[in-house]
């Protein structure tokens, strides 16, 4: 339970920061994609660099977690149709002006329309599970 409460705290932090930095604002996301305002692109790029430096630091310190066990980095792989999945995702991101993280921030901020984005995401996730049962090649 402590572990889950810790993730609740991490989530609180993430949602708070996403909201404060404007990542949950439809206009900000739209203008990133039209290259009119790269604010959000800089946020993502900075996050990548800081995350990379943090992982390097952990590695330099012996690659151990707080419990003293070695850290195992979860390797992201490509499924056969992952590029197609990424294209579908990109269209959704541009359309809805949200991604799976920022839609949660939009909901927290009280944006009612984000509830429809979330509902679509849940149905889309279910659809994946359904398709996967009939067509294992789409595994991500």
């Amino acid at each position: 339970m402590t572990r889950k409460l810790c993730f609740l705290a991490f989530g609180f932090y993430f949602g708070f920061v996403l909201s404060r930095v404007g990542a949950s604002d439809y206009s900000v996301i739209h203008r990133m994609f039209t290259a009119e305002d790269l604010h959000l692109a800089w946020v993502i790029l900075t996050a990548i660099i800081v995350a990379n430096l943090g992982m390097r630091y952990l590695k330099a310190k012996g690659n151990l977690g707080r419990d003293g066990k070695p850290i195992e980095i979860k390797q992201k792989t490509l499924g056969r149709f992952s590029v197609l999945g990424a294209a579908i995702f990109g269209i959704g991101w541009g359309m809805a002006g949200a991604c799976p993280g920022t839609v949660l921030a939009q909901i927290g901020e009280g944006k009612i329309l984000a509830l429809f984005t979330l509902s679509g995401m849940l149905v889309g996730t279910y659809l994946y599970g359904y398709l996967l049962a009939h067509w294992p090649a789409i595994k991500g």
Binding site: K76, E109, M121
Partner: protein, 173 residues
């Protein structure tokens, strides 16, 4: 001070640094990768009580797993951010989109639902979303994440350009 912290939009570097720290923090404290979209599988399992084989697998063995708490925390965090900033608790607005288009509510609902459908299906086939691939994956120099992120951005830009041309009006915004 209050204005800078809780009302004005933070500078990009502040948000970037604070978000980036989550990746090493996840590994250090819990030996796991930062990621949001997999948790939607937990939500689907909770809501639909689905017997889909995919949801019976190892990832979702703990139905009320940490991902559900992470997602719940995100909503709460943004709620508090919204309250501190002030303004309405509930709003039908979606900035640019609702400012430019004067659609009936049902039209908005269908539009955002469709966008969400693409996001949910696409994230699973792609094997992750912005946090898992674009931030966690690229930070760990995973080639797959770099490829997937480039495709995310290209198609996001295509969708936005299409929207601007046909719905949101050209220029002046």
């Amino acid at each position: 001070m209050y204005q800078a912290l809780f009302v004005n939009t933070w500078p990009w570097w502040a948000g970037g640094i604070l978000i980036g720290l989550l990746v090493p923090a996840f590994y250090y404290f819990h030996n796991t990768a930062l990621g949001v979209s997999t948790g939607y599988g937990n939500l689907v399992k909770i809501i639909s009580r689905s017997k889909l084989p995919w949801l019976q697998g190892e990832t979702f063995a703990d139905t009320w797993g940490w991902r559900v708490f992470f997602i719940g925390g995100m909503v709460l965090g943004a709620f508090v951010a919204g309250r501190l900033r002030g303004g309405p608790v509930l709003t039908g607005e979606m900035t640019l989109f609702t400012e430019v288009l004067n659609w009936p509510f049902l039209g908005y609902a269908i539009y955002f639902f469709s966008g969400g459908l693409f996001l949910g299906l696409g994230a699973r086939i792609a094997g992750g979303c912005t946090s898992g691939h674009s931030i966690h994956g690229i930070a760990n120099l995973h080639k797959s994440s770099i490829i997937v992120t480039i495709i995310f951005l290209i198609f996001g830009a295509i969708a936005a350009a299409f929207l601007r041309s046909y719905l949101l009006g050209g220029g002046g915004l």
